[in-house]
């Protein structure tokens, strides 16, 4: 019974926690500029994320170690220093973008400039991290995040042509602006497969003391939860394609993007968009901060855990506090949160091979996962998508920047 409850809660929280600044901004931009054409990118990225999340849970359940701890132990500090630094820098940018996303959401509700909200949001995030254990943080974020299902409701109400949707699940070449199309494909991949999610999930599995007997729960939660979560992202793309695209509105700011809810929700549109954006980004901000604490503590062998009294894991607590403080400082400068998001998610794809490839090695090492190693098809799919994504990102990011 407990396993079924874990499964249901796991799936619900995966759905509620799926959408945040990166997925909303990339899906909205893709929909407004290319219609349904980039739905395949969300589908591919979602499958990739589900596979990686399942693997990170499997690693934790079998070895009792999180991803960061296992990478340090298996590859040593010489190697680990590179992905560790890269991930922390990207996480810092992403965290600043998420805080900015919440601040914009509050601005949409109150009309008061977003920079005024950065510090209160940082304090609110820290209070959540200070006060609650892992379960409350994860389930609270996930359950509140169910408001993001409004993207699916909006898309449903607009009655998209199902045959066009199905056709868009197969990659196709755009009729215009190839560089932008490639950039958005890469950004969708980076927004969906955020590296922090992998270590966060494996750390959560260690905190919740997942065992080998629960591997089926892990598998079902990862695949069902993440795939349903992907549907929420697709809802954002479809709504944007049907509302913003035909009217020539570009999703180049959150204020513009919010207009996608108007046909479906009328007077409630802006408030509902603000709640979806705000709660989605706040949840992600809390998880990224907590993960920063996990990464430092696991890499250096400190006491860690959101379920421990904070004074008993003082360096872990200090690490997530300092990272949250640093990200709030970046956000308060006033950089456009949407632009910051797009830069962070595109750069994520560049560093992805450093995170995913060693992880694949771990998942094929019987010292860590015993007989539960990954299959050749999964290994090949993940390695190929990671490398192709990174190569494409290295080419299109400079072109996108040069093209303005």
């Amino acid at each position: 019974m407990s396993a079924i409850l874990d499964l249901v809660l796991g799936i619900i929280t995966s759905i509620g926690g799926f959408v945040e600044a990166g997925s909303i901004s990339t899906a909205a931009a893709a929909g407004s500029e290319f219609g349904f054409q980039l739905l395949w990118a969300i589908a591919a990225a979602t499958v990739m994320l589900a596979m990686l999340i399942e693997m990170s849970g499997r690693l934790a359940a079998v070895s009792g170690q999180s991803m960061a701890a296992a990478v340090r132990e298996r590859f040593g500090i010489h190697f680990h220093a590179i992905p560790l630094t890269a991930e922390l820098l990207i996480d810092l940018l992403l965290l600043a973008a998420e805080i900015g996303g919440v601040a914009i959401a509050v601005k949409l509700l109150t009309g008061i400039g977003f920079q005024w909200w950065v510090v209160p949001i940082g304090i609110a995030g820290w209070l959540v991290l200070w006060s609650f254990g892992f379960g409350l943080i994860e389930y609270g974020v996930g359950l509140l995040g169910l408001v993001t299902l409004s993207f699916v409701v909006a898309a449903w109400q607009l009655q998209p042509d199902t045959s066009s949707l199905a056709a868009s699940l197969v990659p196709s070449m755009p009729t215009h602006d190839y560089v932008r199309y490639a950039f958005l494909s890469v950004s969708i991949l980076g927004a969906t497969v955020s590296p922090y999610l992998l270590n966060f999930y494996s750390s959560g599995a260690v905190e919740e003391q997942m065992t080998e007997r629960q591997l089926w729960v892990n598998r079902a939660t990862a695949y069902a939860g993440i795939c349903f979560g992907g549907v929420v992202s697709m809802g954002a793309l479809v709504t944007s394609a049907l509302v913003l695209g035909p009217r020539g509105i570009l999703a180049d700011s959150y204020e513009q993007t919010a207009l996608m809810f108007v046909p479906a929700f009328g007077n409630w549109a802006i408030a509902l968009f603000a709640l979806s954006l705000g709660i989605g980004c706040f949840g992600a901000a809390v998880e990224i901060s907590l993960n920063a604490g996990y990464v430092f503590a696991q890499a250096f062998g400190w006491s860690w855990g959101a379920n421990r009294p904070r004074r008993d894991a003082a360096r872990f607590t200090s690490a997530f506090t300092l990272v949250l403080l640093a990200a709030a400082a970046v956000a308060v400068i006033g950089l456009d949160p949407l632009r910051l998001t797009m830069i962070s998610v595109a750069l994520t794809v560049v560093i992805m091979p450093m995170i995913v490839l060693p992880f694949l090695v771990l998942m094929n090492d019987e010292k860590y996962v015993k007989s539960h190693t990954s299959g050749p098809v999964g290994n090949a799919f993940l390695a190929a998508l990671t490398l192709l994504g990174a190569l494409l990102a290295i080419v299109v990011i400079p072109l996108e920047i040069l093209g303005g």
Binding site: G76, I77, H78, G301, W302, S303, W304, A314
Partner: protein, 118 residues
């Protein structure tokens, strides 16, 4: 035993199972013509950083000195103090009594003053 695979970078816990850090360095003793022998393990950010690059190691050591947490660091544990090596290295000491805990203790004093920390 393969020192790099089975000892270096492994998690270290004290005799009570409390996390102390990781094996940041392995000290080998050279014995004339005989093969080297493991003399001790070390725990500490400066020695870890020096493995990445000696300059980085010096910077971290200077930082430890500036914050007055460098006394007795890195923490060296003689090979005789190792109780067992499994998925972690268990050593015969109490974390709180070693220099490895100096940063944790200082931060704990500050954090402990905030309501709700325990």
């Amino acid at each position: 035993m393969d020192l790099v695979r089975d000892l270096l970078d492994k998690r270290v816990v004290d005799r009570n199972g409390r996390d102390m850090g990781r094996v940041d360095a392995v000290i080998l003793e050279l014995r004339g013509g005989a093969s080297p022998r493991v003399a001790a393990i070390e725990i500490g950010p400066a020695v870890l950083a020096s493995r990445v690059h000696p300059t980085l190691g010096r910077w971290v050591a200077a930082l430890e000195h500036a914050f007055a947490v460098d006394d007795g660091r890195p923490t060296r544990i003689a090979v005789g103090g190792i109780l067992d090596i499994t998925d972690r290295v268990k050593v015969d000491c109490a974390f709180g009594e070693t220099p490895a805990s100096s940063v944790e203790r200082r931060l704990r004093a500050w954090i402990g003053a905030i309501p709700g920390s325990s």
